[in-house]
Amino acid sequence: MFKQAAWLGWEMDSNWTEPGLFLIYSIIKPVAGAFILVLMSFVALFIGTGNPDLGKSAMFAYLFVGNAFFIYVASVLFGCFQVIQSDREWYQTIRYVYMSPINFYTYIVGRAASKVLLATIATAVTLAFGVFALHIDLSMSLWDIPLFLAVMVIGLLCVVAIGLCLAGLSFLTAKHTHGLAEGIPGMFYLFCGVIFPLSVLPGWGQSVGRALPITYWLEAIRRLILPSSQIAQVTTGLEQRDLAGIIALLLISTAFFFLLSILLFRMTEYLARKAGIIDMTTNY
């Protein structure tokens, strides 16, 4: 069932267009997003120091890597919560899928799987551009590769769990796909030290960031793939924790969000069914 949902997710996301064309669409978007950061950093360095050498800027490497891996967050979150709204409002097929024997929770995870694949390609392209065109120094020892893969899997599970929480909430809300698509990743973008260190935020903002698992996921990734000399130049706001502590926090928060996603999804599904709004339409 998961496999069928994943294939359906690919077809629906691409809107049944040519796979190659859809792949290009899917890569151009995040790469253009990375270019925006390149230009912003260039302007900031030019104005601040008169020397916009991005390759030598530890801050730029910090934000570029954070942004590259954030592609997963934006893409997979959207992949989860838009399932409810697109099936309900756009294709108006939710009642048929809902009545079919597939578990709806599994269906959403399957639908999001195609987003993981596309995000992996887009992240790889973005990182390759950073290394070859902008001379960002990435380095990882062979011994760190299994740890890096483990961190990726835990982080992705966490993102999917958060996406399922949002999908559950989407049962009860009107058609807010674009608000959610911009806003929820925007919240993580702002508070999780993605494109600037936590230390730049005011105190309360740093506290919010420390409560969110994405912060620890991105920090662990940076410590694994950026040279320690570069990490040391940036006041990240998480210096007091070692890598093991960061990964432990990521594991605990992932477990928490996984349980929350099951509870919240079941509760909102029940409430939507009770209110008779599983297949409502709110198009304007």
């Binding site: 809107n15 925006i36 601040g48 494109i195 600037f196 304007y284």
Partner: protein, 287 residues
């Protein structure tokens, strides 16, 4: 009952199509949170990028420079709201109307299709203004952006001509999207970040280089944003090195763009209607 005249009919159609967008927003109050508060978060993130590059003990000159850059992001964030509305609620709208079965009703109705698209544009501008104003207010009060209003009439002229040109572009896309069928969704998605990049939504467009910036000027937001930034941040702290053309020249080009896009919208709608009559499958769904 007498039939309304041509103008009255089209004005009524315009109001009729803008009505659900204006009233829909007030009936679904959660919309205010999702469409105004949440999107500000990602704009705030861009603001903090510039702050992150600040040296540890910045002097007043450096603070002025950063104020201008933060202001650039706020103005860009305001325009983002309109661009997204143009893409998702104008350009894609006729395609969506086809998919939900309304397009044939629009085609059979006696009013001009331009009045229909005009109604969508007016309603869309109203809905989006809430988000745009919120972004501006947050920029001024939360991020402490200092805006200088030296020539308010020119600012208003640039803003409204930019909107007319943008929505004219959206009206033109609306017909083209119908022809491209199921690529419509992907086309809109494709015109988000790449256009934010090319039009300099979060940085001065001249940083892309003169040639690329001139090419990007075909998108009305490029010149509109540059002119608004020049007019609202005349003392930018980093001089005029990132200014493109003069605001007056940019306004003149925007006027031309607005006229061209509206004419092209009318022509492409006409072509679409001809095609609809000739092939008889324009309203066939899921193509």
């Amino acid at each position: 009952m007498t039939e309304p005249g041509f103008i009255r009919l089209n004005v009524r159609a315009l109001f009729g199509r803008s009505y659900p967008r204006v009233i829909g927003g007030t009936r679904e109050l959660s919309w205010i949170f999702f469409e105004t508060v949440l999107p500000i978060l990602s704009i705030a993130a861009y603001v903090f990028i510039y702050k992150a590059f600040l040296p540890p003990n910045p002097d007043q000159t450096m603070l002025d420079k950063v104020n201008s850059l933060v202001g650039y992001v706020v103005i860009g964030g305001t325009m983002t709201a309109f661009w997204l509305n143009v893409l998702w609620s104008m350009a894609s709208q006729l395609y969506w109307e086809k998919e939900v079965g309304n397009l044939q009703l629009y085609m059979m109705a006696p009013m001009s299709r331009m009045a229909l698209l005009g109604g969508m544009a007016v309603g869309g501008m109203f809905m989006t203004s809430t988000r745009a104003v919120t972004t501006l207010v947050v920029g001024v009060f939360i991020f402490g952006v200092v805006i200088t209003i030296g020539n308010p009439l020119l600012i208003l002229a640039v803003f409204f001509v930019t909107l007319i040109a943008l929505y004219g572009m959206g009206m033109m896309f609306a017909s083209l999207y119908l022809l491209y069928g199921r690529e419509a969704w992907n086309l809109s998605a494709l015109m988000e970040e790449p256009i934010f990049l090319l039009s300099g939504f979060y940085f001065p467009v001249k940083a892309l280089g003169q040639t690329v910036a001139i090419g990007a000027s075909v998108i009305p937001a490029t010149l509109g944003l540059d002119a608004l930034r020049q007019l609202m941040f005349p003392v930018s702290g980093f001089g005029t090195q990132f200014y493109f053309f003069s605001p007056e020249l940019e306004l003149a080009v925007l006027c031309v763009l607005a006229a061209v896009f509206l004419v092209l919208a009318k022509l492409s709608l006409g072509y679409l209607e001809t095609l609809a009559k000739r092939e008889g499958k324009l309203t066939t769904r899921h193509q």
